[in-house]
């Protein structure tokens, strides 16, 4: 693949998927600035591995695999930094969402407390509208695990809402 084709392909992918991935990250980590950086990382990785991409899976699935790995690395590093207290995350950054209407801001809050493995599945399912089979491909886990995580994630949100009285008394 020559440089021109490679750049063109990357541009095409960015036009198609950067917005979606950015929002996916924003939901997943709740920080717009860091979501931006992560999207850049993803597309830099896409650029680097484009010559190796054989098209065995759809580009979308392939890019999402890269995105999930980038997200996981980010979260791992964040955890390590937290353990060693190298970085104190200021409150305003932690809460750095664009606050939408109430149920949605509650959903954001729920995501913040949801375990990472459940969050990945529920975002891929409802936000990206992937089927359970595709999610199992992206996350490299059996479809049965995807289904059980999806169920646990849904119940997590339902219970979260219930505790905060969103369903009324």
């Amino acid at each position: 693949m020559d440089d021109y084709k490679r750049t063109k392909k990357l541009e095409e992918f960015m036009n198609l998927y950067s917005r979606k991935i950015f929002n996916f990250f924003n939901y997943a980590i709740g920080n717009k600035e860091e979501a931006k950086d992560l999207v850049q990382d993803v597309f830099l990785k896409v650029y680097k591995s484009l010559p190796k991409f054989r098209g065995d899976s759809s580009p979308y699935t392939w890019i999402y695999k890269i995105a999930i790995n980038t997200l996981r690395n980010y979260i791992r590093q964040k955890k390590i930094k937290k353990i060693f207290s190298l970085e104190k995350i200021p409150e305003e950054i932690q809460m750095g969402y664009d606050p939408p209407s109430r149920p949605h801001s509650l959903l954001y809050d729920a995501f913040k407390e949801m375990p990472q493995d459940l969050k990945e599945v529920i975002l891929l399912y409802y936000y990206e509208e992937y089927g359970t089979k595709e999610i199992s491909e992206i996350l490299d886990i059996p479809e049965g695990t995807v289904k059980s995580r999806l169920y646990r994630a849904r119940e997590f949100i339902k219970n979260y809402f219930e505790k905060r009285g969103i369903y009324g008394v």
Partner: protein, 204 residues
């Protein structure tokens, strides 16, 4: 509780998926499940709206291309650097290997020819070593260990200086370079027949 078993199906049902008839029958007649379904319905409404609450992002393209430019520049630099350094590294490696080989080859221990050595003819070890280099030779017998520093092309070592008893003696000879790294190690047995002073008569 029976409802607990069916909980998972409630989500599927509300998402329009097929569920077993038995479950459907239960749901229709269960107040608890109907209440649960109300909650699930509301939750799904919110979840299904996830896509509609998107933030319009800035255009990331410019930043990504900037990063790519940096990456390519770095890659080219590394490439150029390795183009220069690789041959240098190999030449250096060859030089080290050559020197190592030379050192190994150049040190020659010329033993006394005979296994049986008559003293006072004495045991001489002749070392042929490279010029202008320092080596330490350690001669180790059961009785004595001696370090001798050599400097020069050919040196002799007179074992009879040690006043050893007549009989079989194993001479362990180790040669070290200046850094204390061992270069050569050999073992040789000699039968010493006489004491230097001539006190012992030869008797095989």
């Amino acid at each position: 509780m029976e409802c607990e078993k069916y909980k998972e199906f409630l989500w599927d049902y509300l998402e329009g998926k097929e569920i077993p008839y038995e479950v459907l029958k239960h749901i229709e007649n269960c107040n608890f499940c109907l209440k649960e379904m109300e909650k699930i319905k509301k939750t799904l409404e919110i979840l299904n709206n996830l896509k509609e609450n998107l933030i319009e992002p800035y255009d990331i393209k410019e930043d990504v291309f900037e990063e790519i430019e940096k990456y390519e520049r770095l890659r080219k630099n590394v490439k150029n650097f390795s183009l220069i350094t690789t041959p240098v590294f190999f030449i250096f490696l060859l030089f080290i290997m050559f020197n190592f080989y030379k050192n190994k080859k150049a040190i020659e221990i010329i033993y006394p020819e005979e296994a049986q050595v008559l003293i006072p003819e004495e045991v001489y070890f002749t070392f042929k070593i490279p010029k202008n280099k320092n080596f330490v030779v350690q001669i180790d017998t059961n009785d004595i260990t001696e370090n001798i520093e050599f400097f020069g092309e050919v040196c002799f070592f007179d074992a009879s200086d040690f006043e050893m008893d007549p009989g079989y003696h194993i001479f362990k000879i180790s040669i070290f370079d200046e850094k204390g790294k061992i270069i050569k190690k050999v073992e040789k047995t000699f039968y010493l027949t006489n004491y230097k002073s001539g006190e012992y008569a030869y008797s095989p």
